[in-house]
Structure formats: structure tokens, C-alpha cells
């Protein structure tokens, strides 16, 4: 049986993503934008939660910050939406530096819950500072006439995230992050600069979500605090990574595509039992594939085992000597 490698699967997904706006309906494009936004969120979360092992419930903080920064720039200064998204991404990075320095002193459940608390605090700020954020009324943006340009931009960011993750998976940086996940004290004792790497990864994993927040506001044409800092977005992102496989290249892709489609089908056909069904699916997935679909695939041999580069280089060096 031929094994599926990350790049062949990513290539197939890329071709499908390129063709979709040409042949798909407006509904398909709109649905795919949401899927791709979640894909980007899942890849970002996978860096800090999956590779470095710092799982947390606060990525939506950066999504929300980005949503507000982008929306305000568009609302007050009429900045084009794609430029607003870039500034929003930078704003995410800039806020992540001090937050990472402070929050990453915590570990395990304390970090996870602390980050959740941070998102709630920011939501309360967004509600409270209504002279800036328009509070609970929210900010209304001019709706986009054609969603296709937005689609292509989000798809391009998703592709970059996938390739960056593939590169990380095959690099010593990736191994160092995994070492932090496996045993942070041992990693530190063996000279791995854990603090620097953790903060760096945390900051890197905040950029794309902040940009996505801004693009999501443009997509909806509206943003308010419960939408910008929605727990639902956070939990769906984490469920996608868990379902697909934490700390893998293909995990977020599998998880995001599968869960988005299942969500959509259930929501369209069984709106009354939609949330309960999603809950049951996640429960079953965690029970039967606790390491995710991709890890299951690696074990059973139909997906190529991760991090092949060093093994290949070592095999070559071994033959040469």
C-alpha cells in the first residue's frame, strides 16, 4: 500500500482549494472561508499546544484583539481590509510578547485556565470600553460584494501555515519544542533554551489568529465582544486539533475539514440535536483515537510517519560511511 505523505495530501487540498471558487456556489465559498479560518486557527494552536505541549484555552484572545484592531482601522480610517488584517496580525504579535512573558511562567492546567481567564478579561474590556469598541452594540462594517478575494487570501494563509508546520516538523526547532512538551526540566538541563523557545512559539502562534480575527469581522460585516472572543471558536479549534492529531503536520487539516463538514451537515439537517451530536462525535474520537486520526494512520501505516528528514539524512550518512 502506498503511504500518503503530508505534501501529497496538502497538494491535493491545495488544488481543490484553488478550483473551488471557480466551480463552487457562493454558499460553498462562504462555507469554505469559515473552514479555512478554522484551519489557520488550528495550525496556530498546534504550534504551541501540539508541538510545545502548552495546551491552552486562550487563543481566541488574539482572534478577538485582531478582530477589533482590524475593524476599527477599517471603520475609522477606511483602511483596505487586507491591510487591516496585516496590522491586526502585527498587533497580535505585539500583545503576545508581554502576555507570553507573563503567562508562560505558568504550567499545565494553570496556564490553560489562565489563558481562558485572559480571554474573558479581554471580552469584558471590549464590552466596557464602549467609547472605543462600541461595547455591546458592536461595530458594523460595509459588507464585501464578492467573497472570492477574501477566500483566496485566507486560503493562502492556510497554505503558508501548513508549509511552515511541515518545515517545523522536519527541523531541529521542532524537535526542541517536542522536547519541551516531553520533559521541560530535562530539556532545560540539556541546554535547550526553553523560555526563549516557548515565548517565541507563543508569539508566532498569535499572529495568524489575530489576522484571522480581522478577516472574520470583514466576512461577517460585524463584530461585537461575544463574537470576537467566542468560547465556541476556541473549543472548536482545539477539538479539530485533537481529532486530527496534536503535534502533526496533517492533524489540523484532517480535523478542520472533517469537523467543519460534520458540523455543517448536522447543523443543516438536525438543528435541534446539532450541538449534542458534535459533542458525541468529539467524545467518541477522544475515546477511540485519543492521539488523533493522523497518529492512528501513522501507526497503521497508511500515513507516512512524521519527521522523516533526520531519518533519511541518517540513513544516507550511514550508507556513505
Amino acid at each position: 500500500m502506498k503511504q500518503l505523505g503530508p505534501l501529497s495530501i496538502a497538494g491535493a487540498a491545495g488544488v481543490a482549494a484553488l478550483l473551488l471558487p471557480l466551480v463552487g456556489s457562493d454558499y460553498a465559498v462562504s462555507f469554505s472561508i469559515q473552514l479555512l479560518i478554522f484551519l489557520v486557527l488550528a495550525y496556530s494552536w498546534n504550534w504551541i499546544g501540539g508541538y510545545a505541549g502548552y495546551t491552552h484555552f486562550g487563543q481566541v484572545s488574539f482572534f478577538g484583539i485582531g478582530a477589533y484592531v482590524g475593524s476599527l482601522l477599517i471603520f475609522h480610517w477606511n483602511l483596505p481590509w487586507y491591510l487591516a488584517a496585516i496590522v491586526a496580525g502585527l498587533a497580535g504579535a505585539v500583545t503576545a510578547i508581554p502576555l507570553g512573558g507573563a503567562m508562560l511562567r505558568l504550567k499545565g492546567p494553570f496556564f490553560a485556565i489562565g489563558m481562558f481567564g485572559l480571554a474573558r478579561v479581554l471580552e469584558a474590556f471590549a464590552l466596557g470600553f464602549d467609547s472605543i469598541t462600541h461595547g455591546g452594540t458592536g461595530i458594523y462594517l460595509k459588507p464585501l460584494g464578492d467573497l472570492r478575494p477574501l477566500y483566496y487570501i485566507v486560503a493562502a494563509v492556510a497554505a503558508i501555515m501548513l508549509l511552515a508546520t511541515w518545515k517545523l516538523d522536519n527541523s531541529r526547532l521542532g524537535l526542541k519544542l517536542l522536547a519541551i512538551r516531553e520533559d521541560e526540566n530535562a530539556a532545560e538541563s540539556l541546554g535547550i533554551p526553553t523560555t526563549r523557545l516557548k515565548i517565541g512559539t507563543f508569539v508566532a502562534s498569535a499572529i495568524a489568529p489575530a489576522a484571522m480575527g480581522s478577516l472574520y469581522a470583514v466576512y461577517l460585516g460585524f463584530i461585537d465582544p461575544p463574537t470576537a472572543f467566542a468560547s465556541n471558536i476556541e473549543l472548536t479549534t482545539i477539538a479539530m486539533v485533537l481529532l486530527g492529531g496534536m503535534g502533526t503536520v496533517l492533524g489540523p487539516l484532517c480535523g478542520a475539514v472533517l469537523l467543519s463538514i460534520v458540523n455543517e451537515v448536522l447543523w443543516a439537517n438536525y438543528p435541534q440535536i446539532y450541538l449534542a451530536s458534535v459533542g458525541i462525535i468529539i467524545l467518541l474520537a477522544v475515546l477511540f483515537t485519543p492521539r488523533g486520526i493522523v497518529n492512528l494512520g501513522m501507526k497503521s501505516g497508511w500515513v507516512a510517519v512524521g519527521r522523516p528528514l533526520f531519518r533519511r539524512l541518517a540513513a544516507r550518512a550511514g550508507q556513505a560511511s
Binding site: A179, E182, E188, G191, P193, F310, A314
Partner: protein, 234 residues
């Protein structure tokens, strides 16, 4: 350069009022094999963790090559050429043996890191397990991979935490041979163990700890015949 590469000066440490180390001083000569032995609870691990930077002493200081590292972090100490192994294996379980080594490699050259890793696996005669997962290894294999991983840091001093504990005699001899080979390469070996037979046979200098105090110091013969050592052990 002085001949003393590692020096522990009057180090004391208490845990909740109980004395773990009481004004302990140790000198490790460059290129030597130096061992610290002592029964369980004698303060060996505390001493080891203070040297490796994972514990801070209440008093006293630790010098590497004359530089005070008492307050340095574990990673900084590692950067000065001090590499350690762990008493209970702390290999990265979800990485292969090769990845365990490459993860801690220095420098930015992947090929050099891989070449060094393969060379060390050959040196320790464990090249056949390069692709096995950390979680799949036997106890003895873990001990050897721990040593290989510490050697990836190309250290000046190797700190070995009970390298012989729970290891069968054949493997003990293998580890001893490797340690001698390391010394021949100019690496200083410092270890703690309660396996008296091996320590006394192989060390240039032995320190004996009991109840947080140094009770003897000297070459194998001196320590073997010391009345206080015999009393502490038997």
C-alpha cells in the same frame, strides 16, 4: 588553566529544617574519574542537583573552571560544558533515539549534528537502536542513550547520576569501559552512585557522604579501609 575543573566550596542545604548537606567541599581534577558514594539519604542527589543547577544551595558556592555557577540556570551551566544524565531515565519518549540526540545538539548544522549522533551511537555500540522510540527501550539501553545524549553537548565534564544503579554486571562493565574511553578523550567524569564495588574499582578519587557530611576522601585503597566508611556502609 587550573587542574581543578569543578569545585564545590562549603555547600550546605536544608530541606524543611532537615540538613541534607552540611558544608561539603569537593574538588574534581581535570580529566579524572571522580565518584561520590554514600548510602541512600546521604545527600548525593542533592549535591548533584546543586552542581547541575536544578537546586540552589543555602550556603557555599560551585565553580566550573574558576567561574561561579552557583546562581546560574541549568541551561547556562550546560552551556559551560557541563552535561548530565538522570538517575531515572528522562529520555524523550515520543522521539526516536536519533531524534533524542539531535534535539539537544548545538550549532546550526543539521548534517554535523547527525554525523555526531551516529558517531556517538557507534561509540556506545547502540547504532542498531537509532530508529527505536524512546518509550520502547530497555532499562539498560536507556542508560546508554542518556550518556550518548549528554555527549551530544560535547561537554568538558560529564555528570552521571547513578549510572550503575539497577544495571546488570555485563552492562556495568560496558559502561565502565565507555567512561574510561571518555577520559582518554579528555572529558572529566564525575558521578554519584551507591554501587560501591564499581566506584571503588574505577575512580581516581572517591568522596564518601553520610548524612549530609563528607566522611572520607581519597583513593580507592584509603577509602576502602576507612573505619567511618565501613561503619556507614556495613
Amino acid at each position: 588553566m587550573s587542574d581543578i575543573i569543578l569545585s564545590v566550596e562549603n555547600v550546605s542545604k536544608r530541606f524543611a529544617g532537615r540538613i541534607a548537606l552540611d558544608s561539603v567541599s569537593i574538588d574534581v581534577a581535570r580529566g579524572s574519574v571522580t565518584g561520590v558514594i554514600g548510602p541512600n539519604g546521604s545527600g548525593k542527589s542533592t549535591l548533584f542537583n546543586i552542581i547541575a543547577g536544578t537546586l540552589r544551595p543555602d550556603r557555599g558556592r560551585v565553580l566550573v573552571d574558576g567561574r561561579d555557577i552557583t546562581l546560574a540556570s541549568a541551561a547556562e551551566i550546560c552551556g559551560l560544558g557541563v552535561a548530565r544524565t538522570f538517575q531515572i531515565s528522562r529520555l524523550f519518549a515520543e522521539m526516536t533515539v536519533l531524534e533524542n540526540l539531535i534535539a539537544v545538539a548545538r550549532g546550526s548544522d543539521d548534517r554535523a549534528a547527525i554525523a555526531l549522533a551516529l558517531e556517538l551511537l557507534d561509540f556506545l555500540e547502540i547504532a542498531d537502536i537509532a530508529d527505536r522510540w524512546g518509550s520502547e527501550l530497555s532499562y539498560g539501553q536507556r542508560k546508554l542513550v542518556e550518556i550518548a545524549r549528554a555527549l551530544m553537548l560535547q561537554p568538558k565534564i560529564m555528570l552521571l547520576d547513578e549510572p550503575f544503579a539497577g544495571v546488570n554486571p555485563r552492562l556495568q562493565n560496558r559502561i565502565v569501559e565507555h567512561l574510561k574511553a571518555l577520559c582518554a578523550k579528555g572529558i572529566t567524569v564525575f558521578f554519584i552512585d551507591h554501587e560501591m564495588r564499581i566506584v571503588l574499582k574505577e575512580c581516581d578519587l572517591v568522596y564518601v557522604l553520610a548524612e549530609g557530611r563528607l566522611i572520607a576522601r581519597g583513593d580507592t585503597q584509603t577509602v576502602r579501609n576507612d573505619a567511618r566508611v565501613l561503619q556507614a556502609y556495613f
